[in-house]
Amino acid sequence: MKILTGNDLRSGAVVWWNGTGWSLFVDDAVDAGDDSEEILAREEAARRVNVPYAIDASIDAAGHVRPAHIKDRVRALGPTVRRDLAVPTADRTGWDWVI
């Protein structure tokens, strides 16, 4: 699936397109499919999110959204060397797949 991500304009926080807005949690990301380009253009123009882009992702057996590339997996969780600063999510299995 294709999901959309970027950084919030004001805070810089990593955000994910949830179908109606931008969420801090990768698990909220929805498949934007063929609408990706249109949503990206609209959201960039609305100046809410910095340089949003589409990436490949999948959903694992437990229902967690897993970005395909290592860089976006690190973005989804936080620095691997500072797990105390991780994005606050109930998904404790994330660190098993990030690298």
């Binding site: 805070s11 810089g12 100046r47 590339h69 290592i70 936080g78 620095p79």
Partner: protein, 556 residues
Amino acid sequence: MYQYDSYDQAMVDARVEEFRDQARRRMEGRLSEDQFKPLRLMNGLYLQLHAYMLRVAIPYGTLNARQMEALADIAEKYDRGYGHFTTRQNIQYNWIKLEDAADALADLARHEMHAIQTSGNCIRNISADHFAGAAADEVTDPRPYAELLRQWSSFHPEFTHLPRKFKFCVIAAEKDRAAMRLHDIGIRIVKRDGAVGAQFYVGGGMGRTPIIAPLVRDFVAVDQLITYAEAALRVYNRYGRRDNKYKARIKILVHELGAAEYTRQVEEEFAHLLSVGVEPPREELARIAEYFAPPAFHHPSESWDLEQLQSKAAGDPSFRWDDGFGLWVRRNTHPHKAPGYVSAVISLKPVGGIPGDATADQMRIVARLAREYSFDELRVMHTQNLLLPHVRIADLPAIWAALDAAGLAAPNMDTIEDIIACPGLDYCSLANARSIPLAQRISERFAETGRTEVVGELKLKISGCINACGHHHAGHIGILGVDRKGTENYQLSLGGSEAEDVSLAKITGPGFDEDGVIAAVETVTDVYLGARADGERFIDTYRRIGMEPFKEALYG
């Protein structure tokens, strides 16, 4: 150290307000990201993987206790309680919000600091020998020249849209402790027949095309320093490549023209600019230099020398000489020009730690020690450590005890644990692989096996991508992280040095995965230990025996 006058203060204050206005226009949607990006970059604000990152300039790595405390306060007020000291003597905050950035800059300005030109295609923060003003072997303190350059380069109207970024480094000793020849312009202050002048090395750098800067002029009179720099920059601004960002640094221009032709063009521009008159008045350098007058060192009779320290410690267990203090004194102190004094390195490389990171509390402890024991002066070293430049040998026991209690007394300067590592894929949007976990695991491995001491001086440097922020080209051992089909892979290189014996490392062969490269580092140190002659450092043995034995052990 230098103090702002009302002019300097007004400049940084005006810049804060200018940026506040720019950020406002961005948040109101009146600037696109394409338009805003170069403006925020000129103020040190990047967008990284997880958030905005603010890079604060610490000119020539010098700051006082109050400034370090201000950095600690910013870490807590606007960030997550820590900062990261970099190879260019700056500090980076990883979690700054755009809406807070102008306030953070205003706090910096109140303490005579700024983030001006810490990014963008302009003249960046001027770096210098971290032992400046203290080292026993320096000709003179290089920092007045660095400050003169700082002021000249700040908001330079002609040079804010150069082909690419531009880094100066100033030293004043034969020994190079600042990677001088791996800068766009490296300046060595020298004395000839009693006259002070500057050697200009132009066109060095790391990145994807590492080049050692050639000497372009052996002596520029000190009252023509700015004019020569202006000429060197103008030739670059006019003729540096702008068609390909990977070929846009001045090193490519100098390389493609040849050093002789580049020099000829600079000399021509220099002669012209001398007739125009762009040099600051002579009195300005003298005014600046007064701020760098040596502190009032105590008479040697009020301190000890290192032998006295050792003999006192031998008779008194409270010194804990064998419990870490002795090793720390041996490894982490540096000879000082004043008798009875040394410079003391505060390692930000605890075993298993993140190279260069310091918490707000640690910054405050360091600030207190500077105030109490080092004439209110601190340095950021290009090795991502901190330094108390002027401490009495007699005060070392108290300093070490305080550092030890704060987790800041790792006795590992210039050892394999003293690793330079860029933030890598844990933080950086350019990175292809993580750097920090490698540094953590290698330092743990060598500390556990006790081999740190056996191996001695060994400079290991790790970059998470080809941009080489971790100086891997200049490591005795260098590691470069690459992306191999979506997984992290690491190339090993050997034989680099950024010191006065500057050389560029060569790649050993095919890359390794994370476990593999850690094992490979152990393998090459095995080869070294097996082959070294008396007194040889790793780099000396490598230069004597060459790459083959290492390759054989790694891939044979």
